[in-house]
């Protein structure tokens, strides 16, 4: 059963259209993440779901019921705000119980709900404190507790972790994931952090300029992006975009890496794997395309760990070497562009040296240069 169903929703402020014909539907128990750069309309979409902002046209259904013109209170939802929005004059217990009290729940039941939620989030010792006496992480828990106490059909999270420091953010991320797995709640979650999106979501909606570019599982969005924006937005360090020319050679297709500086030297050529859709490429021979390679698609040639790895060899000049501890990020010139490659931590590469690499072309993606749409 679909818990939330959004159909052709538009939203305009004056003459600017911030949501353009948004349609999506999520199932009960699903964790949907709206992700995109600031100003992409993700928060507006969330406010539209919550009923805090009216839509210009379209329909929003929650649990099969049309709630497009219902007030926020009439929709069966709860929201966790970026600023937590805890009521400063009430203590934690009152904060959690306020929504239940407004819904005329009897006192005994209210106390039971508060106790249950406090237990779940391990905030029982904090129940009599005021929000001003809590740390950021504790406020975050209380804000989540307030949402959980109501047991609504849908939970909305509006960038809930962006006010926490890095370590706490990772902890709370895990906590939210655990909570979702345990309670099987339906969650719509807004973030601009692609790591949060990848780690938490069942499905990700990548948004830009008021449109959903791609809606899919984290794996689909990461490995099978529909265009260069999605490909570049997901993943850190982001995907390398290398201008190439498609040429027909021998028994298949070859991607010739364009090198503006040195047209005389032998161009680097990467063969397109024969088993991947040759059909789409047939019409594009001789065209300029953009090759997308993620940093982890490169492996140092000496690596013996993956003996079955059968990639294409190439040699590059290392310009910058950045060890992160877990692995080493290597910057090197690849044709016209600087590319980032992720090498194992044991690698002995130094800046200014030539490095022999293999590249896994079976996971490479190709985009059209002008429209930035995916070709293959």
């Amino acid at each position: 059963m679909s818990a939330l169903n959004i159909r052709h929703v538009d939203k305009t402020f004056g003459s600017t259209q911030v949501l353009k014909d948004i349609s999506l539907s999520i199932d009960s128990g699903e964790f949907l993440i709206l992700v995109g750069p600031s100003g992409c309309g993700k928060s507006t979409l969330m406010n539209a779901i919550a009923g805090l902002e009216p839509v210009t046209s379209g329909e929003i259904q929650i649990g099969g019921e049309d709630v497009t013109w219902h007030t926020p209170a009439e929709r069966d939802i709860a929201m966790v705000f970026q600023s937590y929005a805890l009521y400063p004059s009430m203590n934690v217990r009152q904060n959690i119980a306020f929504g239940l009290e407004m819904r005329k729940m009897p006192k005994a039941q209210r106390e039971e709900a508060v106790a249950r939620v406090a237990e779940l989030l391990q905030i029982t010792p904090l129940l009599d404190r005021k929000p001003s006496q809590l740390s950021g992480g504790q406020r975050q828990r209380v804000a989540m507790g307030r949402a959980l106490a109501r047991e609504p059909q849908i939970y909305l999270f509006d960038e809930p972790l962006s006010n926490l420091d890095a370590k706490l953010r990772v902890e709370m991320r895990t906590e939210i994931k655990k909570l979702h797995q345990r309670l099987g709640t339906t969650i719509v979650y807004v973030t601009h952090d692609q790591i949060e999106a990848m780690t938490l979501a069942d499905r990700i909606a990548v948004m830009r300029d008021g449109e959903i570019l791609q809606l899919g599982t984290p794996d689909e969005v990461y490995n099978d992006p529909v265009d260069m924006f999605v490909a570049g937005f997901m993943g850190s360090p982001s995907m390398n975009f290398i201008p190439v020319t498609l040429v027909s050679g021998g028994d298949g297709y070859v991607l010739r890496v364009l090198d503006g500086d040195d047209p005389t030297g032998a161009p680097l050529e990467l063969p397109w794997p024969a088993e991947r859709d040759a059909q789409a490429l047939q019409a594009r021979v001789g065209e300029r395309l953009i090759l997308g390679l993620r940093p982890e698609h490169f492996v140092e040639d000496e690596t013996r760990m993956e003996t079955s790895f059968d990639g294409t060899r190439l040699e590059v000049m290392a310009t910058v070497v950045e060890p992160t501890g877990a692995d080493i990020l290597l910057q090197a010139t690849l044709g016209e562009t600087e590319a980032t490659m992720r090498l194992g931590p044991k690698s002995r590469v130094a800046a200014g040296e030539r490095v022999a690499l293999r590249v896994d072309m079976s996971r490479a993606v190709l985009f059209e240069a002008t429209s930035q749409r995916r070709v293959a």
């Binding site: 007030t71 209170a73 939802i77 929201m79 929005a85 009521y87 306020f98 819904r103 307030r146 109501r150």
Partner: protein
């Protein structure tokens, strides 16, 4: 520390520098000293002198035959003082409560993102820019039965309309309240508006999602968080009420009879026009006690708040 350590070694040059340092160190104190001395003498000195006078039986001129607290006993037996003290309670109470209610309502209405908010805010705040004397004179004309509101409504044809509070000794005190509220509620509004602006918008959204109606959001969530503002407003209004003098002089002159006397006008009348310096001083000291009774707990809580915060 370093100038002290280095000056003996560097010799003459260092000594000159330390002389300049000395001047620099003492100059601020030197500049502030006269005004401090004047303030000490004219504020605290005269306070003390007033207290001393209140213990004497001074009449037209100060003299020093001490009679203990006899003047205070006379003061509390004085019918006119009792009227003034009762008036202060009525006036102060109504003035503070009305200002708070009107100021808060105006602030809430102005906070609804209305058009021309800046212009409206200025209009409401403007009475504060007037002297209380001007306010008093304006309202004296408005409330004058022969000139103001009563005459206007009668000229419209409502011949029986009566609004003569200004000359009615039972009601005249309320005309003071009207004028003072007109003057001060805009200021209270500004205080509340600043407080309301400090409240996070998402609090309203969260409460709306929790199912609270707008009046309930204000009552349960916004007002409690405005408590410090209410406290400051009460403090400011209370001491305006106790010190009220110019408004009374301009609006009613304390009349009819002494029906609208406040402690300040009582003190003025006895000390400067009726030759009762001792009694007047005693009433002045009672007013000081009233102000202190409000200010001391306020300052105490403020300072304690700072230490905690």
């Amino acid at each position: 520390m370093s100038p002290h350590v280095s000056s003996p070694r560097v010799g003459g040059k260092g000594r000159r520098r330390s002389l300049a340092g000395q001047v620099e160190r003492f100059l601020p104190r030197l500049v502030v000293a006269p005004s401090l001395a004047v303030a000490l003498f004219f504020v605290y000195g005269y306070m003390l002198w007033t207290f001393v006078l209140s213990l004497t039986d001074s009449r037209m001129l100060p003299q020093y035959d001490f009679v203990g607290f006899a003047q205070y006993a006379r003061l509390f037996a004085n019918e006119r003082w009792n009227v003034a003290a009762t008036n202060l309670v009525v006036f102060g109470g109504l003035f503070i409560v009305s200002c708070l209610v009107i100021g808060l309502l105006l602030a809430i209405f102005l906070d609804q993102r209305i058009r021309q908010e800046g212009a409206l805010r200025t209009i409401y705040l403007y009475p504060m820019a007037l002297s209380l004397i001007v306010t008093g004179v304006v309202w004296r004309w408005l409330l004058n039965p022969g000139l103001g509101i009563q005459a206007l409504v009668r000229s419209w044809g409502f011949e029986d309309f009566t609004f003569n509070w200004l000359v009615d000794s039972d009601m005249a005190i309320y005309t003071l309240v009207i004028a003072a509220v007109w003057q001060a509620s805009g200021f209270v509004m500004a205080l509340f508006l600043a407080g309301l602006r400090g409240i996070d918008d998402s609090l309203f959204q969260a409460a709306a999602l929790d199912g609270a109606s707008l009046p309930r959001i204000y009552l349960r969530i916004v007002l409690p968080s405005l408590r410090p503002v209410v406290f400051s407003a009460v403090m400011i209004l209370a001491h305006i009420a106790i010190k009220s003098f110019d408004l009374v002089m301009a609006l009613t002159g304390g009349g009819p009879g002494y029906a609208t006397d406040l402690p300040a006008t009582f003190m003025y009348a006895h000390t400067f026009t009726r030759g009762q310096i001792g009694l007047g001083s005693a009433s002045a000291i009672m007013m000081l006690c009233g102000v202190l009774a409000i200010l001391v707990p306020y300052l105490y809580s403020e300072l304690r708040g700072q230490r905690n915060g």
